[in-house]
């Protein structure tokens, strides 16, 4: 029993990759604590899907949002109080289907949030339909003759969108994953962590993934090398694929202002507003 546990009943399928992600998150919070990050400052959001049940299983504050929209909710939290470290848990349907606009723009504006994608290539909670990252030919209840679409590749997409931290993890390597989560949360600016996670019930690719996974030695220094690494098909590199220093959105726009912590008192606000409207009339 960890301090991060809740008493909610866990309803993931036995052997689900989500357990590994949950464990990695708990480890990362502990590691972040050792590195001086107050766990009270770590806040989470979650979309809707099997993955999102992590919201109930982790004793962290946050907002269990709408399908596809929790990335926007996470950014709202970060813009209101930039002292908070926000981690958003999304499924591949959340992140690259329903809510694709939000992740592209979160990357574009370099919002200071971490998006951890439970990428299992299937809509599991709704009983196994094809998802944005499903391979062509994926057979599910909505595609009985196989999906006629090519999969979306999250890492190249995020590199092109301007994400300042892009990593891929694997649910089969918990320690490695915990380390990636620590780096993503410590990164100042937008971080995508795409976690390959087999679905034991609808898309059980444990064996294939284990064969192709390869831990990266070093993060590429050039964007084109990162892109090339992200597009490899012979192997699936995991680790930090891209990292760059870039001022996050709120700091670019408002410096060190914290709308919640620095909020004006009633008296100050009304005095300032009084002079603003005098000037404007």
């Amino acid at each position: 029993m960890s301090v991060l546990d809740t008493n909610a009943e866990n309803t993931w399928c036995p052997g689900c990759g989500n357990f590994a992600i949950l464990n990695a998150v708990k480890k990362s919070v502990e590691k972040l604590g050792q590195a001086g990050v107050d766990p009270r400052r770590i806040v989470m959001t979650a979309g809707i899907g099997q993955h999102a049940k992590i919201f109930d299983y982790l004793s962290l504050s946050g907002f269990y949002g709408l399908h596809g929209r929790s990335m926007a909710t996470a950014q709202g939290i970060s813009f209101a109080n930039p002292h908070l470290k926000v981690i958003d848990f999304g499924g591949d349907g959340d992140t690259f289907g329903e809510g694709l606009e939000h992740i592209v723009f979160a990357a574009k504006r370099n919002a200071d949030i971490t998006v951890l994608v439970h990428d299992n290539g299937v809509y599991a909670l709704t009983t196994g339909q094809t998802a944005p990252t499903s391979e062509r030919g994926f057979v599910g209840p909505s595609t009985p003759r196989g999906s006629a679409e090519d999969p979306l590749r999250p890492i190249p997409l995020m590199l092109e969108a301007g994400a300042s931290f892009v990593a891929r993890g694997f649910a089969g390597h918990v320690e490695h994953l915990a380390d990636l989560i620590v780096q993503a949360i410590q990164h100042e600016g937008f971080a995508l962590l795409d976690v390959l996670q087999p679905c034991v019930t609808f898309n059980n690719n444990w064996k294939e993934l284990r064969e192709k996974i390869e831990i990266i030695d070093a993060t590429p220094e050039k964007k084109e090398d990162a892109l090339a690494m992200a597009k490899r098909e012979d192997k699936i590199p995991i680790g930090v694929i891209w990292r760059e220093e870039k001022a996050p959105f709120l700091r670019s726009a408002y410096g060190n202002w914290n709308p919640v912590a620095d909020a004006q008192s009633k008296q100050e606000r009304r005095e300032r507003l009084g002079s603003v409207i005098e000037k404007d009339d």
Binding site: T6, G65, G76, A80, N81, L84, W257, P259
Partner: protein
């Protein structure tokens, strides 16, 4: 029309400075101590087309523009044609003679001035002719040149020397050519001019707004522009995200960590927000939406006005949850209601809508904002002991706590238990439904202490109205000395039935800007009122007070239920 009232209409192409001329005229009348109402009519384009601005002014008060003008300035030929019927008897047309080949046109009641030719002495003549309209107005009302110079200094300060030189030439030419003048009395009105959208921004800021999220959409965009200009001074964060869906979900996230937020949009944008609106109901998140209507459905007539979104505001969002909907009739109402609604959504932790229309959002009128008269958001906060986000309480409202905290604070879109953990069992489902519903009961008790209905006059005829139509109706009464009782519903949800009992047994006329009579239905079904006649308009244009008063007179006496 009111005695001592005067209307100035200026028309031209987009890009000629029509709206600017209207604004300058408003400032001029306001400096003369007169009450002002400015309505801008513009199309969804940036150059060309036909735009006009109507500025009506009176000595004491005025709450609408009048279409029939005393002085009309037409910068192009189309304006002459479009507004031929809008010249009041005894009124005067001044037109840009350059648009006619022989430089004259053929208007016995008109004066042609070579506005474009005169402007060619200066750079950008095409964009400068709007200045001529203001100079002609100054000459027509016999304003001393020095006052025109002061006006130009504040209103046409950019490239002031050229503008003033051009203005003076037009002023002199107008003086020579005018068959008569319109000397205007000075008054003692000292309040300044504001648009409804500016008033909403001021009201929300007075109540403690911290963050504003919006995607551009007419007619709500000027709230975004206004707050973006004030952000540094007032410590606001103003963000324009990728869509209204992002806007709404960001606002909820920001509120969940303590930021007083507001969002603004029109019908189409609000349609995209409705899932989040429902989320605010479930997660009990303070969420204030400014919904400024334009004619729909769909993209509709984007830069015009209508009250077609009442039913939508009252029902948007799936599932059952309490909401607050209020609609201002004037700029001062807009200021007060923006502050009140921000306070109420934080007091009751549920979504609210400030429902307005293009006509109020973008028209300018006199207002005084007493910043100390409106509430400051002070939500119920958790003090000590173990925390549960959705703890049971007598009125359904649970104390708030924000991270960072030792306690776990969970906001949840799923049905949940007291601590915000997802549940599916029937007992919790009922308990939480009841909790949210009890907030509505408490809200009603709070509203009973507030002004939810405003009554003007005490005449025999009973006129029910809401939103900006209220201002039109009041001016229609003033225009024609119509003796009526005007009842304005400020709060539309919870619907103030407790205020309506006294009107139940009397015939009622309803005035609204919708085709199907959404407000009529609300008054009949929820208010139990005997609606005997319905005066509506749905061409996208606001009511003209004189045309409206003529219609109201016809309705006098009632003709059976509608």
């Amino acid at each position: 029309m009111q005695e001592e009232a005067f209307t100035f209409l200026v028309g031209g192409e987009a890009g000629q400075g029509v709206k600017k001329a209207g604004t300058a005229a408003s400032v001029l009348f306001s400096r003369m101590g007169r009450a002002v109402f400015q309505m801008d009519d513009y199309q969804s384009l940036i150059r060309g087309g036909h735009n006009f601005s109507v500025v009506s002014t009176a000595l004491d008060r005025i709450s609408s523009h009048y279409m029939k003008s005393h002085l009309m300035v037409a910068l192009d030929e189309r304006s002459v044609q479009e507004h031929a019927e809008h010249l009041r008897e005894g009124g005067l047309l001044i037109y840009n003679g350059d648009v006619y080949e022989d430089g004259s046109g053929d208007f016995p009641e008109g004066v042609g001035l070579p506005m474009t030719t005169l402007a060619r002495e200066y750079p950008n003549p095409g964009m400068r002719v709007g200045v001529a309209a203001v100079a002609a107005l100054c000459a027509a009302i016999h304003l001393p040149l020095q006052e025109m110079e002061d006006l130009f200094r504040s209103e046409y300060g950019k490239d002031f020397d050229n503008n003033l030189a051009y203005g003076k030439t037009v002023y002199e030419k107008t003086k020579e050519a005018l068959p008569r003048r319109f000397p205007l009395k000075r008054g003692t009105v000292s309040s300044s001019l504001w648009s409804g959208n500016e008033a909403i921004a001021v009201g929300a800021c007075a109540a403690g707004l911290n963050a504003y999220f919006a995607y551009p959409m007419t007619p709500a965009s000027s709230i975004l522009h206004c707050l973006a200009n004030w952000d540094e001074e007032l410590g606001l964060v103003v963000v324009q995200p990728e869509s209204e869906v992002a806007v709404a979900n960001m606002a909820l996230g920001a509120a969940s960590v303590g930021a007083r937020t507001m969002v603004g949009t029109s019908g189409g944008g609000f349609a995209l927000m409705t899932e989040a609106f429902s989320l605010a109901g479930m997660a009990e998140t303070p969420f204030l939406v400014v919904l400024s209507s334009r004619p729909g459905p769909a993209t509709g007539v984007p830069t015009y006005t209508e009250q077609g979104d009442l039913d939508f505001a009252l029902s948007a969002g799936h599932g059952e949850f309490p909401r607050i909907v209020a609609s201002p009739g004037s700029v001062e109402d807009a200021f007060r209601l923006a502050a009140e609604l921000l306070d109420l959504v934080w007091t009751f932790q549920t979504p609210g809508i400030l429902l307005t229309e293009k006509h109020l959002s973008e028209s300018r009128m006199n207002a005084t904002f007493d910043l100390e008269s409106v509430p400051w958001v002070e939500p119920l906060l958790h003090r000590d002991g173990p925390y549960a986000r959705y703890a049971a309480s007598e009125n359904g409202v649970s104390p708030l706590l924000f991270p960072p905290s030792d306690q776990c604070i969970k906001w949840n879109s799923y049905e949940h238990d007291e601590r915000g953990i997802t549940i599916e069992d029937p007992l919790w489902t009922v308990k939480m439904h009841d909790k949210r519903a009890s907030k509505r009961d408490a809200l009603i008790e709070t509203l009973k202490e507030k002004e939810t209905v405003q009554v003007f006059g005490e005449g025999e005829q009973i006129l029910f109205t809401y939103g900006s139509t209220t201002s039109s109706v009041l001016e229609a009464c003033r225009a024609d000395g119509l003796d009526a009782t005007v009842v304005q519903i400020l709060y539309l949800e919870p619907f103030p039935v407790w205020e309506l009992k006294q009107w139940r047994n009397r015939p009622v006329t309803v005035v609204e800007q919708s085709q199907m009579g959404q407000f009529v239905r609300l008054l009949k079904e929820r208010g139990g009122l005997n609606v005997t006649s319905f005066v509506n308009q749905y061409d996208g244009r606001p009511f003209d007070p004189e045309a409206l008063s003529a219609r109201l007179k016809k309705e006098m006496g009632g003709r059976g239920a509608v």
